[in-house]
């Protein structure tokens, strides 16, 4: 479904890569948490999957297509197979809930009849059946995020990318959103969620990929936000870098901990 092959992403004017030689594979229907500090490369990873950015080196395959070979004018059609949800919802403030969700279908050329059928369906699925005519500012944060999710999945995408979808929400509302994402995942959609929310990751016990300074330091089935197990990867040949958490608790040196705060913070946005 998604395969990264030695992918490195360098932003101009910055010597340190946002992603450094990342290789991974995500299968159909998986639910994956992408964790790591700000600036560790989570957002860059999502942007690369969307082909909003080009990798500096390496190959990315998404839905059986090599993204480097995808012509620019075909990118829109490719993106119709992906849904995206953001921390800040990104709804259109002057459009109603219905219109916000319908917008996706309108601009991709769906018929009026299809829209009239699909939008109420998806609103019902995210639990907003009675609020179709509300404007975004009349809704709570959790409801707004549900609208955003409805917009992302109304096209029935194969992959749903969520960039800290619970970042602006309280724990209880977050739990509701997670239930919704779980249900979407259960219907066969691959869900990739970047998050800082340790509680959610620990509770869900799904696949966890941890990034530190653009490198995968952990890829664990049914993991937590911080691992107790010893991760499988043994990499990082160059230099003095010691991956934090790469060892038992006793081995984690104070020095490695101190190196975690990232000078690249916020660069990937």
């Amino acid at each position: 479904m998604i395969r990264f092959d030695q992918v490195t992403k360098l932003y101009s004017g910055n010597a340190r890569p946002a992603l450094n030689s990342v290789s991974l594979e995500i299968l159909k229907g998986e639910f994956v948490f992408l964790v790591g500090a700000s600036g560790s490369g989570k957002s860059s990873f999502l942007r690369l999957v969307l082909k909003e950015e080009r990798p500096s080196s390496g190959h990315i395959h998404v839905l059986g297509q090599e993204l480097a070979r995808l012509a620019n004018r075909k990118v829109p059609y490719f993106r119709r197979n992906l849904g995206v949800v953001f921390q800040d919802f990104r709804l259109l403030p002057q459009k109603s809930v219905f219109a916000n969700v319908a917008f996706t279908l309108q601009v991709t050329g769906r018929s009026k009849g299809f829209i009239q059928e699909a939008v109420p369906d998806v609103l019902k699925m995210v639990g907003l059946a009675g609020k179709a005519s509300r404007l975004p500012h009349e809704l709570s944060g959790g409801e707004q995020q549900r609208v955003a999710i409805a917009r992302a999945i109304v096209n029935r995408p194969a992959i749903l990318l969520a960039d800290e979808p619970t970042g602006n929400l309280d724990p209880l509302t977050s739990a509701g959103i997670m239930t919704l994402l779980e249900r979407i995942s259960a219907s066969g959609t691959t869900v990739i969620m970047a998050t800082h929310d340790a509680g959610i990751v620990d509770q869900m016990q799904r696949r966890v990929i941890e990034l530190v300074s653009g490198q995968i330091v952990r890829d664990e089935r049914q993991g937590g936000y911080q691992t107790q197990a010893i991760p499988v990867q043994a990499f990082q040949t160059a230099g003095t870098f010691i991956p934090p958490f790469a060892g038992t608790d006793a081995e984690i040196s104070a020095g490695a901990r101190a190196s975690t705060p990232d000078p690249n913070e916020g660069v990937s946005r």
Binding site: N72, R90, L92, T104, V107, G109
Partner: protein, 305 residues
Amino acid sequence: MRFSLIMSEVAHGLRRNVSMVISVVLVTFISLTFVGAAILLQAQIGQMKGYWYDRAQVAVYFCTASSDLKNCNSTEATAAQKAAVKAQLASAALAPLVKRVEFESHDQAFERYKTQFADSQFANFVSPEFLNEAYWVNLKNPLQADVLRESLGSLPGVEEVKDQRKYLDPIFSALNAASVTAISIASLMLVAAALLIATTIRLSAFSRRRELGIMRLVGASNRFIQTPFILEGVISALVGSVLAAGAVVAIVRFFVQGFLGSTIQTGTSLIGMTDALLVAPVLLLIGAVLAAASAGVAINRYLKV
């Protein structure tokens, strides 16, 4: 469905950007009016050349008793000298160039003079023998007048070989200068118009950047995203072009045909409505293409993946 959606986007964009749209309309209006005026001036020059060159004759003036120019020495041209000129005109070298030759005697010249200057008192002081006898030559190709001058100018008894076209040249160069001026003003204004359209579209896109961001995210095709903006530019430029076309037609109708036509009274050599109606679609086309190109370039920035 999609068409109506695009059109409502266009209408929305035009409404939101009214002041910019008005300035685009005005700038395209003025610049295309200049373009139209330049084209009309060129058409006028062509028309006049065609009209006058056809009628312009080469005059071979013979000496009179009162002329003291190089060949004459104040003696009237003899019959033999006139015959020599006539023979020369009929020779194998010149005959193919000549369409028609007419001889004008002293008396005929005097008659013409009297009608031409009927209002003036000069007619009273002139007598037939002061006026040159002449051969009036119509050439097949008016541009070959020099050949005639070279071969006849130095013959004895010939005072001067005069190409009437020479009288028209200052008029043509004045008209040419005017049309060059119009074209240079027009091209400066067209640059301004193109930049203004690009800025307008960029502003419009900026005010809709949220929608654009979401459109790109959910996979709206580039053409779908582009079209409303390009249409926005084209529509506002087309309004300006229509005004310019109207202005050009009005100029021809009221200034050229109405004012000039009645004052100069040589209606045949002036451009008419057909020329104006030919220029109008050219202006519309220039306006539309210019707007589509600059709006397309402007919006392209928002489509980069």
